[in-house]
Symmetry: C2
Subunit: 245 residues, 2 copies
DNA sequence: TTGACTCCTTGATGCAGATCAAGCCGAGAC
DNA sequence: GTCTCGGCTTGATCTGCATCAAGGAGTCAA
């Protein structure tokens, strides 16, 4: 549990252009630089417990974290997947509403809550960017509601894979030479928690998609997609939306 | 389809203290007053079509509207219920992501999108309030994800009724003399769309809750709740959270 | 090498909720 | 009156996914 505290200049930060600080001018960045600090979390570690007092807010710099909710009897639902540049925490509220857990090793760029809130009032660029990001997340959450409420297990799996593929494509913006291929960053159980299924159903549906030639697997986690449009059809999304990126 | 255009001074507006303008100073309000206009919609009318260019944004002044998503084959999921003071539309995006429909007759306080966006840049109070409201909606959407992904039909119905009851209580903040009672603002089919069920299942589960004495019905739409804690148990929510208001 | 892990797959069975179908009730319209 | 029509209930049956259960494959450590 070594807190490997790397320190990076904001100018060199890999998430500089997408995170909550994306709109900041150089002087604003300098002030943020003064109050930021890095924290590392190991895969599996809980970053924030639901109901706890939130001491800090921050951005995921690298790795993947998940936002989950658990019922008393143990039923779990993942309500968000936090990727690099995503923001964690809620200015203006003192306790966390959901558990935040590191799915892989995670590095976060943190700010103590109070100073950050003060900065937000002073620098509209931060609040503007945060509003934009929050609206995007709200749209994403609402699309996920359609998936959870109305899609079949097969459609859910196809949707998840195509979302991960889309993200991959937007990140590496590789000229799609050859079949698209992605690594699943989640275990079967985590996928189940995200999709509102059991892990057995996830496994079965992945096998079925493989048998039907919609995807092929190399190992458990690596998926290649011979025909992305076929996958999108299986996902039951309004077609057209296919346009990667 | 008469556009019954009432005009109200912002100072007298029933949603003045909860809407996007809640934090505005008098001079800011004056400027909003100049660009606002009212529109009325009849129950059943579509306010905004998904995919359409958004010409305006605005607040629900009275009535209830719903935000829905529909798949090509007709499966529908309601992704939000818009009550008085809720904000419709998304500054910074040109096309609507979801259908907005009037569930009851609705009056909206509208702003053309462009002038509103300009105002938002100029007056941080509006952006601040909008951020706050959006964060609340995001939390609500995430709680709904737990409901859609993991709750049983019975729990879903109990959750919906208790949410409506909570709202009712917070609005009228009546000293709860006698059993709490509420009107369901939705048809069985709309409830089904909201909960990710069929209307038959909604009907059956309401009947079951009635048979078990958790609720009682007068007519189809009026529900009384002899014991709110019993209902909350049925909803499967973390207990304690019961505290109405 | 052998166990003990975790992660995953696959099979057999059961059940909650979907689907298909019929009919009730109250409100207009005429 | 009675016709229609939207909203609702209830019954019978079907089915997709959960549940229960067993075992495979890879990794790590002793």
């Amino acid at each position: 549990m070594h807190d490997h505290s790397v320190h990076v200049q904001c100018g060199d930060c890999p998430i500089r252009h997408r995170a909550v600080c994306a709109r900041c001018e150089t002087d604003e960045l300098t002030r943020l630089e003064q109050i930021k600090y890095y924290r590392s979390f190991q895969a599996g570690q809980t970053i924030i417990w639901s109901g706890d007092r939130m001491e800090f807010v921050g951005s995921v710099v690298s790795g993947i974290a998940s936002l989950t909710q658990t019922m008393e009897d143990g039923r779990r639902q993942m309500v968000g997947l936090l990727l690099p540049s995503d923001f964690v925490g809620r200015p203006g509220r003192t306790t966390a509403a959901f558990d935040v857990t590191a799915t892989t090793d995670v590095v976060m760029c943190c700010f103590r809550k109070k100073p950050f809130e003060e900065m937000m009032v002073a620098t509209p660029h931060i609040a503007q960017r945060l509003l934009e990001m929050t609206l995007d997340e709200l749209d994403a959450a609402r699309e996920w509601m359609l998936l959870l409420g109305r899609k079949t297990a097969r459609e859910k799996i196809a949707s998840l894979i195509s979302i991960i593929a889309r993200r991959e494509a937007s990140l590496h913006l590789r000229r799609s030479a050859g079949p698209l291929s992605v690594d699943l960053p989640l275990t079967r159980e985590e996928m189940a928690d995200y999709l509102g299924l059991t892990l057995e159903t996830v496994s079965r549906q992945i096998s079925a998609l493989k048998k039907d030639g919609v995807i092929s697997l190399e190992g458990n986690r690596h998926v290649s997609i011979p025909d992305i449009n076929r996958l999108l059809e299986e996902a039951g999304d309004d077609s057209d939306g296919g346009m990667l990126v």
